[in-house]
Protein backbone atom coordinates (compact mmCIF):
# COMPACT_ATOMS: atom_id res chain seq x y z
CA UNK A 1 0.00 0.00 0.00
CA UNK A 2 1.42 3.38 -1.04
CA UNK A 3 2.11 6.10 1.51
CA UNK A 4 2.77 6.01 5.23
CA UNK A 5 0.40 5.23 8.06
CA UNK A 6 -0.70 8.14 10.20
CA UNK A 7 -2.11 8.52 13.68
CA UNK A 8 -5.61 10.00 13.83
CA UNK A 9 -7.69 11.17 16.72
CA UNK A 10 -11.24 9.97 16.29
CA UNK A 11 -13.84 11.58 18.53
CA UNK A 12 -16.98 9.47 18.63
CA UNK A 13 -20.27 10.85 19.88
CA UNK A 14 -21.41 8.38 22.53
CA UNK A 15 -24.39 9.08 24.72
CA UNK A 16 -24.08 12.58 26.15
CA UNK A 17 -20.56 13.43 25.00
CA UNK A 18 -17.66 12.67 22.68
CA UNK A 19 -15.09 10.00 23.49
CA UNK A 20 -11.63 10.32 21.96
CA UNK A 21 -9.61 7.42 20.55
CA UNK A 22 -6.23 7.35 18.86
CA UNK A 23 -5.85 5.02 15.87
CA UNK A 24 -3.15 4.38 13.28
CA UNK A 25 -4.49 4.23 9.72
CA UNK A 26 -2.94 3.53 6.34
CA UNK A 27 -3.71 6.16 3.64
CA UNK A 28 -6.46 4.15 1.92
CA UNK A 29 -8.23 3.10 5.12
CA UNK A 30 -11.66 4.49 5.82
CA UNK A 31 -13.59 5.90 8.76
CA UNK A 32 -15.29 2.51 9.02
CA UNK A 33 -11.87 0.85 9.32
CA UNK A 34 -11.07 3.30 12.12
CA UNK A 35 -14.28 2.36 13.93
CA UNK A 36 -13.44 -1.32 13.59
CA UNK A 37 -9.95 -0.74 15.02
CA UNK A 38 -11.47 1.09 17.98
CA UNK A 39 -14.01 -1.66 18.58
CA UNK A 40 -11.54 -4.52 18.25
CA UNK A 41 -8.52 -3.10 20.04
CA UNK A 42 -9.64 -0.28 22.35
CA UNK A 43 -13.31 -0.42 23.31
CA UNK A 44 -15.44 -3.41 22.36
CA UNK A 45 -18.61 -1.69 23.57
CA UNK A 46 -18.59 0.85 20.70
CA UNK A 47 -21.76 0.36 18.64
CA UNK A 48 -22.00 1.14 14.93
CA UNK A 49 -23.65 -0.44 11.94
CA UNK A 50 -22.25 -1.74 8.66
CA UNK A 51 -22.78 -4.52 6.13
CA UNK A 52 -21.25 -4.38 2.64
CA UNK A 53 -18.23 -2.07 3.29
CA UNK A 54 -18.23 -0.98 -0.37
CA UNK A 55 -20.87 1.77 -0.45
CA UNK A 56 -23.69 -0.40 -1.72
CA UNK A 57 -25.90 -0.97 1.32
CA UNK A 58 -25.93 2.45 3.02
CA UNK A 59 -25.92 0.94 6.51
CA UNK A 60 -22.80 2.70 7.81
CA UNK A 61 -24.07 6.28 7.28
CA UNK A 62 -22.86 8.61 10.03
CA UNK A 63 -21.92 12.26 10.43
CA UNK A 64 -18.22 12.87 9.83
CA UNK A 65 -17.02 16.31 10.87
CA UNK A 66 -20.65 17.44 10.84
CA UNK A 67 -21.38 16.19 7.30
CA UNK A 68 -23.47 13.07 6.75
CA UNK A 69 -21.81 10.39 4.63
CA UNK A 70 -20.89 6.72 4.40
CA UNK A 71 -18.15 5.67 6.82
CA UNK A 72 -16.96 3.02 4.35
CA UNK A 73 -16.48 5.57 1.54
CA UNK A 74 -14.78 8.32 3.55
CA UNK A 75 -11.02 8.26 3.97
CA UNK A 76 -9.59 10.18 6.93
CA UNK A 77 -6.54 10.94 4.77
CA UNK A 78 -8.80 13.02 2.52
CA UNK A 79 -10.40 15.02 5.34
CA UNK A 80 -7.37 17.27 5.59
CA UNK A 81 -6.67 17.01 9.33
CA UNK A 82 -5.51 14.35 11.78
CA UNK A 83 -8.65 14.55 13.91
CA UNK A 84 -12.25 13.73 13.05
CA UNK A 85 -15.60 13.86 14.77
CA UNK A 86 -17.95 10.97 14.14
CA UNK A 87 -21.56 11.26 15.27
CA UNK A 88 -24.87 9.52 14.54
CA UNK A 89 -27.02 10.80 11.66
CA UNK A 90 -29.14 13.86 12.45
CA UNK A 91 -32.96 13.80 12.43
CA UNK A 92 -33.07 10.14 13.49
CA UNK A 93 -33.42 8.78 17.04
CA UNK A 94 -30.20 7.33 18.44
CA UNK A 95 -30.42 3.73 19.63
CA UNK A 96 -26.84 3.54 20.86
CA UNK A 97 -23.60 5.34 20.00
CA UNK A 98 -23.62 5.63 16.17
CA UNK A 99 -26.62 3.38 15.63
CA UNK A 100 -29.83 5.22 14.75
CA UNK A 101 -33.36 4.05 14.16
CA UNK A 102 -34.33 4.48 10.50
CA UNK A 103 -38.02 4.43 11.45
CA UNK A 104 -38.73 8.16 10.73
CA UNK A 105 -36.98 7.85 7.35
CA UNK A 106 -38.96 4.78 6.29
CA UNK A 107 -42.20 6.18 7.71
CA UNK A 108 -41.86 9.03 5.17
CA UNK A 109 -40.64 6.60 2.49
CA UNK A 110 -43.85 4.58 2.90
CA UNK A 111 -45.99 7.74 2.71
CA UNK A 112 -44.55 8.38 -0.78
CA UNK A 113 -46.03 5.03 -1.97
CA UNK A 114 -42.70 3.52 -3.08
CA UNK A 115 -44.14 0.21 -4.25
CA UNK A 116 -44.55 -0.43 -7.98
CA UNK A 117 -48.20 -0.89 -8.97
CA UNK A 118 -48.30 -2.24 -12.53
CA UNK A 119 -50.94 -1.13 -15.00
CA UNK A 120 -51.20 -4.69 -16.27
CA UNK A 121 -50.43 -7.02 -13.37
CA UNK A 122 -51.54 -10.07 -15.34
CA UNK A 123 -49.54 -9.25 -18.50
CA UNK A 124 -47.64 -12.25 -19.86
CA UNK A 125 -44.80 -10.31 -21.49
CA UNK A 126 -42.24 -8.23 -19.60
CA UNK A 127 -42.68 -4.50 -20.28
CA UNK A 128 -39.35 -3.26 -21.60
CA UNK A 129 -38.01 0.21 -20.86
CA UNK A 130 -35.42 1.14 -23.52
CA UNK A 131 -32.41 2.91 -21.95
CA UNK A 132 -32.74 5.79 -24.43
CA UNK A 133 -36.46 6.34 -23.73
CA UNK A 134 -37.55 9.38 -21.70
CA UNK A 135 -38.07 7.28 -18.57
CA UNK A 136 -34.92 5.25 -19.22
CA UNK A 137 -32.80 8.40 -19.30
CA UNK A 138 -34.46 9.87 -16.21
CA UNK A 139 -34.22 6.65 -14.20
CA UNK A 140 -30.53 6.17 -15.05
CA UNK A 141 -29.59 9.08 -12.84
CA UNK A 142 -32.15 8.52 -10.11
CA UNK A 143 -32.60 4.82 -9.44
CA UNK A 144 -29.38 4.17 -7.50
CA UNK A 145 -30.76 5.26 -4.10
CA UNK A 146 -29.55 2.90 -1.36
CA UNK A 147 -31.85 4.39 1.34
CA UNK A 148 -28.88 5.25 3.53
CA UNK A 149 -30.65 8.28 5.04
CA UNK A 150 -27.77 10.68 4.29
CA UNK A 151 -30.03 13.09 2.37
CA UNK A 152 -32.61 12.89 5.16
CA UNK A 153 -29.93 13.85 7.71
CA UNK A 154 -28.53 16.60 5.47
CA UNK A 155 -31.92 18.19 4.77
CA UNK A 156 -32.32 21.55 6.50
CA UNK A 157 -36.11 21.39 6.20
CA UNK A 158 -36.16 18.21 8.31
CA UNK A 159 -34.57 20.24 11.09
CA UNK A 160 -37.73 22.31 11.43
CA UNK A 161 -40.42 20.02 10.03
CA UNK A 162 -40.96 16.44 11.11
CA UNK A 163 -43.70 16.10 8.49
CA UNK A 164 -41.51 16.68 5.43
CA UNK A 165 -41.12 13.60 3.23
CA UNK A 166 -37.40 14.09 2.70
CA UNK A 167 -35.42 13.92 -0.55
CA UNK A 168 -35.14 10.12 -0.90
CA UNK A 169 -38.88 9.55 -0.61
CA UNK A 170 -39.60 12.34 -3.12
CA UNK A 171 -37.05 10.89 -5.54
CA UNK A 172 -38.67 7.48 -5.23
CA UNK A 173 -42.10 8.98 -5.85
CA UNK A 174 -40.80 10.71 -8.98
CA UNK A 175 -39.49 7.39 -10.33
CA UNK A 176 -42.86 5.76 -9.72
CA UNK A 177 -44.84 8.63 -11.27
CA UNK A 178 -42.61 8.86 -14.35
CA UNK A 179 -42.69 5.10 -14.94
CA UNK A 180 -45.02 4.42 -17.92
CA UNK A 181 -45.82 0.95 -16.46
CA UNK A 182 -47.05 2.41 -13.17
CA UNK A 183 -50.76 2.65 -12.42
CA UNK A 184 -50.89 4.45 -9.04
CA UNK A 185 -50.95 8.21 -8.98
CA UNK A 186 -53.57 10.38 -7.28
CA UNK A 187 -52.80 9.39 -3.65
CA UNK A 188 -49.08 9.80 -4.23
CA UNK A 189 -49.58 13.23 -5.84
CA UNK A 190 -51.75 14.28 -2.90
CA UNK A 191 -48.95 13.42 -0.46
CA UNK A 192 -46.36 15.25 -2.58
CA UNK A 193 -48.63 18.28 -2.76
CA UNK A 194 -49.14 18.52 1.03
CA UNK A 195 -48.49 21.97 2.42
CA UNK A 196 -46.40 20.86 5.40
CA UNK A 197 -45.00 17.54 4.24
CA UNK A 198 -44.83 17.84 0.47
CA UNK A 199 -42.29 19.07 -2.08
CA UNK A 200 -43.15 22.73 -1.52
CA UNK A 201 -41.23 22.70 1.76
CA UNK A 202 -37.91 22.25 -0.09
CA UNK A 203 -35.72 25.38 0.01
CA UNK A 204 -33.56 24.27 -2.92
CA UNK A 205 -30.34 24.51 -0.93
CA UNK A 206 -28.88 21.38 -2.61
CA UNK A 207 -27.66 19.93 0.71
CA UNK A 208 -29.16 16.53 -0.18
CA UNK A 209 -27.60 16.55 -3.65
CA UNK A 210 -24.20 17.59 -2.30
CA UNK A 211 -24.14 14.79 0.30
CA UNK A 212 -25.76 11.92 -1.62
CA UNK A 213 -23.11 9.15 -1.74
CA UNK A 214 -24.55 7.88 -5.03
CA UNK A 215 -24.43 11.28 -6.73
CA UNK A 216 -28.18 11.53 -7.33
CA UNK A 217 -29.43 15.05 -8.12
CA UNK A 218 -32.22 14.88 -5.55
CA UNK A 219 -32.92 18.61 -5.79
CA UNK A 220 -33.69 18.07 -9.48
CA UNK A 221 -36.21 15.34 -8.55
CA UNK A 222 -37.95 17.71 -6.14
CA UNK A 223 -37.90 20.57 -8.69
CA UNK A 224 -39.36 18.29 -11.38
CA UNK A 225 -42.26 17.38 -9.11
CA UNK A 226 -42.82 21.03 -8.16
CA UNK A 227 -43.06 21.90 -11.86
CA UNK A 228 -45.28 18.90 -12.53
CA UNK A 229 -47.67 19.79 -9.73
CA UNK A 230 -47.74 23.44 -10.80
CA UNK A 231 -48.51 22.43 -14.40
CA UNK A 232 -51.40 20.32 -13.16
CA UNK A 233 -52.82 23.29 -11.29
CA UNK A 234 -52.16 21.77 -7.90
CA UNK A 235 -50.63 24.91 -6.38
Amino acid sequence: MAGESQTYEIRVQRGGGAVSYSVVLAPRMTVLDALFIVQRTIDSTLAFRCACRVGMCGTCAVRINGRPGLACRTRPSELGRPAMDVAPLAHLPVIRDLVVSMEPFFAQWKRARPRFRPKQPEAAATAAIPPDSEFGLLAAGKRDCITCGVCFAACGVRTTSGEYLGPAAVNRALLRIADPRESGGPERLAVLNEERGGVWRCHTTFDCTEMCPKGIDLTDSIARLKRGLAARGRL
Binding site: G156, V157, H203, T204, T205, F206, T219, D220, R227
Partner: protein, 108 residues
Protein backbone atom coordinates in the same frame (compact mmCIF):
# COMPACT_ATOMS: atom_id res chain seq x y z
CA UNK B 1 -27.21 25.54 4.70
CA UNK B 2 -29.25 28.36 6.22
CA UNK B 3 -32.56 28.88 4.39
CA UNK B 4 -31.64 32.46 3.45
CA UNK B 5 -34.92 33.08 1.66
CA UNK B 6 -36.93 32.31 4.77
CA UNK B 7 -35.02 34.55 7.16
CA UNK B 8 -34.69 37.51 4.79
CA UNK B 9 -38.39 37.08 3.99
CA UNK B 10 -39.31 37.26 7.68
CA UNK B 11 -37.08 40.33 8.12
CA UNK B 12 -38.77 42.05 5.16
CA UNK B 13 -42.20 41.17 6.55
CA UNK B 14 -41.29 42.83 9.86
CA UNK B 15 -40.09 45.90 7.95
CA UNK B 16 -43.32 45.96 5.94
CA UNK B 17 -45.44 45.87 9.10
CA UNK B 18 -43.39 48.74 10.58
CA UNK B 19 -43.79 50.64 7.32
CA UNK B 20 -47.58 50.18 7.32
CA UNK B 21 -47.72 51.26 10.98
CA UNK B 22 -45.81 54.45 10.13
CA UNK B 23 -48.04 55.28 7.16
CA UNK B 24 -51.05 54.63 9.39
CA UNK B 25 -50.00 57.59 11.60
CA UNK B 26 -51.20 59.81 8.71
CA UNK B 27 -54.72 59.05 9.85
CA UNK B 28 -53.83 60.58 13.23
CA UNK B 29 -52.87 63.92 11.67
CA UNK B 30 -49.76 65.59 10.19
CA UNK B 31 -48.11 66.12 13.58
CA UNK B 32 -48.30 62.44 14.45
CA UNK B 33 -46.78 61.59 11.07
CA UNK B 34 -43.97 64.14 11.55
CA UNK B 35 -43.24 62.68 15.01
CA UNK B 36 -43.02 59.20 13.51
CA UNK B 37 -40.68 60.39 10.75
CA UNK B 38 -38.48 62.20 13.28
CA UNK B 39 -37.77 58.84 14.93
CA UNK B 40 -36.48 57.46 11.63
CA UNK B 41 -33.94 60.28 11.30
CA UNK B 42 -31.94 58.75 14.14
CA UNK B 43 -28.58 57.32 12.87
CA UNK B 44 -29.58 53.91 14.21
CA UNK B 45 -32.51 53.79 11.80
CA UNK B 46 -30.25 55.03 9.00
CA UNK B 47 -28.03 52.06 9.76
CA UNK B 48 -31.22 50.00 9.61
CA UNK B 49 -31.81 51.34 6.08
CA UNK B 50 -28.42 49.98 5.03
CA UNK B 51 -29.36 46.62 6.56
CA UNK B 52 -32.73 46.79 4.78
CA UNK B 53 -30.99 47.32 1.45
CA UNK B 54 -28.76 44.30 2.13
CA UNK B 55 -31.80 42.20 3.03
CA UNK B 56 -33.73 43.23 -0.10
CA UNK B 57 -30.74 42.48 -2.34
CA UNK B 58 -30.04 39.13 -0.66
CA UNK B 59 -33.73 38.13 -0.93
CA UNK B 60 -33.92 39.19 -4.58
CA UNK B 61 -30.62 37.62 -5.68
CA UNK B 62 -31.31 34.37 -3.82
CA UNK B 63 -34.90 34.36 -5.08
CA UNK B 64 -33.76 34.67 -8.68
CA UNK B 65 -31.28 31.79 -8.34
CA UNK B 66 -33.91 29.62 -6.61
CA UNK B 67 -36.41 30.33 -9.38
CA UNK B 68 -33.78 29.37 -11.94
CA UNK B 69 -33.05 26.11 -10.10
CA UNK B 70 -36.73 25.29 -9.57
CA UNK B 71 -37.29 25.76 -13.30
CA UNK B 72 -34.65 23.10 -13.80
CA UNK B 73 -31.76 25.25 -15.02
CA UNK B 74 -28.20 25.47 -13.77
CA UNK B 75 -28.14 22.58 -11.28
CA UNK B 76 -24.65 21.53 -12.28
CA UNK B 77 -23.36 25.09 -12.36
CA UNK B 78 -25.06 25.98 -9.07
CA UNK B 79 -21.86 27.07 -7.30
CA UNK B 80 -20.89 29.38 -10.16
CA UNK B 81 -24.42 30.79 -10.43
CA UNK B 82 -24.51 31.46 -6.69
CA UNK B 83 -21.12 33.11 -6.90
CA UNK B 84 -22.30 35.39 -9.74
CA UNK B 85 -25.44 36.26 -7.75
CA UNK B 86 -23.35 37.02 -4.65
CA UNK B 87 -20.88 39.21 -6.57
CA UNK B 88 -23.67 41.09 -8.39
CA UNK B 89 -25.59 41.49 -5.13
CA UNK B 90 -22.45 42.70 -3.36
CA UNK B 91 -21.79 45.27 -6.10
CA UNK B 92 -25.38 46.52 -5.90
CA UNK B 93 -25.13 46.76 -2.14
CA UNK B 94 -21.92 48.77 -2.31
CA UNK B 95 -23.41 51.09 -4.97
CA UNK B 96 -26.45 51.80 -2.79
CA UNK B 97 -25.20 51.13 0.74
CA UNK B 98 -22.12 53.37 0.75
CA UNK B 99 -24.03 56.61 -0.13
CA UNK B 100 -26.75 55.62 2.36
CA UNK B 101 -24.18 55.07 5.10
CA UNK B 102 -22.19 58.22 4.37
CA UNK B 103 -25.28 60.43 4.00
CA UNK B 104 -27.49 58.95 6.71
CA UNK B 105 -25.17 57.65 9.41
CA UNK B 106 -22.05 59.79 8.98
CA UNK B 107 -23.99 62.92 7.95
CA UNK B 108 -21.78 63.74 4.93
Amino acid sequence: MIPLQRWTGIALLIYLLLHIRTIHTLSEGPQAFDRALAVFRHPLFKLGEVALLATVIAHAANGLTLTLFDLGYGHRARRRIRMVAAVAGGALFLAGGVPLFLGGVMGR
